[in-house]
């Protein structure tokens, strides 16, 4: 293969060796790409992909399909109603209430968890001794089976016999109805979430702090920042990746909380603490309306995915480095 210019070992030997970019070159003909190694690697991905498609994507697709029908669990006949289920749901006060409950619970829980988790992480970071002991102790609730955790809290908050009530009553004060009053039930559920998941946030942020470059903080100090301002301007930006991670994970998970609500309030009193997830469950397994339940589930999914993607893209656009 002799390129223009003669001897293949002396390309473009002209009196004044010109820079090659002044000579128009013939366009490079495309060759079929396909690194054999890359192809083999995709084979590695195959089993996992198959499982996910078969056992997650397919059921979801099936659920969407179901949502277009009016069907009762166990029966064979299903009437096609198109978007009827969705229309009916969106017209129900109960659905909007569920959305509101879900949002309030999620936002409150995450806000409190994050604030506490951050404070605890900072505290651990500044502790000279014993950080390990504290972090281990505080970490325990995160490990406990959520149902069990919910039961533990039930025995604290149960009316009259729970620890909280008996302590407060012993002090002569009339205790609130933790699980029976619409307002206090909210509080109880937030406390439950905070109790279980603050350790998670604390742990991640603490690890982030330990991995942080201490000279950043020293530079900040020298520049005159201290205390809360130091935290806001120096530490939080340094923990950006970790903060993003915990918020994203908690957002996804808090939205779908089921175990603790099932055990503590069951959605009650009435529907005061009924989240979208709880209502979906009720529709499917108590009222046995599988079609409508699927539609409710799809709505829940749309809200979660929409919210999460919105937040992710917001953060992603602001600093492409975080991911």
């Amino acid at each position: 293969m002799i390129p223009a210019g003669g001897d293949p070992r002396a390309p473009a030997a002209s009196p004044a060796p010109a820079l090659a970019d002044e000579i128009p070159m013939a366009p490079v003909p495309p060759r079929p790409r396909g690194n054999p190694r890359d192809r083999a690697l995709w084979l590695f991905v195959l089993p996992s992909a198959l499982v996910v498609v078969a056992v997650q994507l397919y059921p979801v697709a099936y659920a969407v399909y179901l949502s277009f029908f009016d069907q009762y669990l166990g029966s064979q006949d299903a009437d096609f109603v198109g978007l009827g289920n969705y229309a009916a749901l969106l017209g129900q006060q109960r659905v909007w209430s569920a959305l509101r409950v879900t949002l309030i619970l999620t936002v409150s829980s995450i806000a409190v968890e994050f604030a506490l988790g951050l404070l605890l992480a900072l505290g651990l970071y500044k502790l000279t001794r014993g950080a390990r002991v504290f972090s281990t102790l505080i970490f325990v609730p995160y490990l406990i089976t959520p149902v069990v955790a919910a039961l533990f809290l039930r025995w604290i908050f149960a009316a009259r016999w729970g620890l909280a009530d008996s302590l407060i009553a012993a002090a002569g004060v009339f205790p609130p109805d933790w699980l029976g009053s619409p307002v206090w039930a909210f509080v109880t559920l937030v406390v439950a979430d905070v109790w279980q998941f603050t350790p998670f946030i604390m742990l991640i942020l603490y690890a982030g702090l330990q991995g942080m470059d201490p000279s950043l903080v020293e530079a900040g100090r020298i520049d005159g920042a201290s205390g809360p301002r130091l935290v806001w301007h120096v530490i939080l930006p340094a923990l950006r990746a970790q903060i993003f991670f915990v918020l994203a994970i908690r957002l996804m998970d808090a939205f779908r909380t089921f175990d603790s609500i099932y055990v503590l309030t069951g959605g009650g009193p009435g529907t005061a603490t009924e989240t979208m997830t709880m209502y979906t469950y009720t529709l499917a397994f108590r009222q046995l309306e599988v079609g409508r339940a699927s539609a409710m589930g799809v709505l829940t999914m749309l809200v979660v995915t929409g919210l999460t993607l919105m937040i992710v893209s917001l953060v992603y656009r602001r600093d492409r480095g975080a991911f």
């Binding site: 690697l41 590695f44 991905v45 089993p47 996992s48 499982v51 996910v52 056992v55 997650q56 059921p59 979801v60 659920a63 179901l66 669990l73 500044k126 014993g130 504290f134 102790l137 505080i138 970490f139 325990v140 609730p141 490990l143 406990i144 089976t145 959520p146 149902v147 069990v148 955790a149 039961l151 533990f152 025995w155 604290i156 016999w161 620890l163 009530d165 008996s166 302590l167 009553a169 012993a170 350790p199 998670f200 742990l203 690890a207 991995g211 201290s226 990746a241 996804m252 939205f255 779908r256 089921f258 175990d259 099932y262 055990v263 997830t277 499917a284 699927s294 589930g297 829940t300 999914m301």
Partner: protein, 274 residues
């Protein structure tokens, strides 16, 4: 950060307060589990009493909780044995693949992780019922493996990202094909990651409630479902219930605290590598 800006004693007090907050419900449950009902629910709460371990014995040996534990263990073990290997394979591949297709797949996994379980459980139930697989191990294990994959793949990927690609290249030049590079060179170096991922998979399967509630029956009932049945209003059952709850908690707690360092590493690696 130089310690001392906020006095150590104040920090100690605050951290102790939160530690107390974290541990009180557990301690209280332990106490209920060994008290007779009259002692358990006295006002003010009785701290001095005579412990009675009857309930612990009863819940495990007379109320079939031992059986339920076997179910939970079987499902958890099955989940780990299937989920971790395929997740590891995928995690490795995705740590090496640099094309947009690879990134899309990872994003796709993330989206899948967002699916509400309550949405998934409905078609699962309908389908399982249709093929008469309700109350079987395979149905639960399949569900757990699938639910687990996004997390497992992402976590293993972040561990594999720590192993330099140059090792892959050296092995390739040394004569390994793709599988040999993975099995003989990279995998041995990822052992800590596999331990962590297995622990998390175990934890997830053992703790699962919603799917177990829907998919298991009398034969395969798992501990979370069993204990939830004891959450009723009847005070007389509370001691029994507490005993069961503590029993469920203990093995996992012991196990996890033993592996605590690994767990922490796993969580934090996931956070840093996104």
């Amino acid at each position: 950060m130089r310690p001392g800006t906020l006095a150590q004693p104040v920090l100690l007090v605050l951290l102790t307060a939160f530690a107390v907050f974290s541990l009180t419900p557990i301690v209280w449950a332990v106490m209920i589990s060994v008290k007779d009902p009259i002692d358990a629910f006295a006002i003010p709460p009785k701290l001095i009493f005579e412990p009675n371990f009857r309930y612990h014995y009863e819940i495990w040996f007379e109320r079939r909780f031992l059986e339920f534990f076997a179910n939970s263990a079987a499902i958890a073990a099955g989940t780990v044995l299937i989920s971790v290997p395929i997740g590891t394979l995928a995690g490795y591949a995705l740590s090496r693949i640099r094309t947009p297709a690879g990134r899309s797949f990872l994003m796709g996994l993330l989206v899948v992780r967002m699916f509400p379980h309550v949405l998934l459980v409905i078609p699962f139930f309908v389908m399982a019922r249709a093929v008469e697989m309700i109350d079987t191990y395979p149905a639960m294990i399949a569900a757990m493996v699938a639910l687990n994959q996004p997390f497992t793949v992402w976590l293993m990927r972040s561990f594999f990202l720590e192993i330099p690609r140059e090792l892959d290249e050296a092995a390739t030049i040394d004569g390994c094909n793709a599988w040999q590079v993975f099995a003989r060179v990279v995998l041995p170096l990822a052992r800590p990651g596999i331990v962590v991922t297995s622990l998390f998979s175990l934890l997830l399967a053992y703790n699962e409630f919603l799917f177990a509630l829907v998919l298991t029956g009398t034969e395969t009932k798992t501990l979370p479902v069993a204990i939830a049945e004891y959450g009723g209003e009847d005070l007389n059952y509370w001691s029994l219930s507490a005993a069961g709850a503590i029993g469920i908690m203990l093995p996992i707690l012991a196990f996890m605290l033993f592996f605590q360092r690994h767990l922490v590493r796993g969580l934090t690696i996931g956070a840093v590598k996104g």
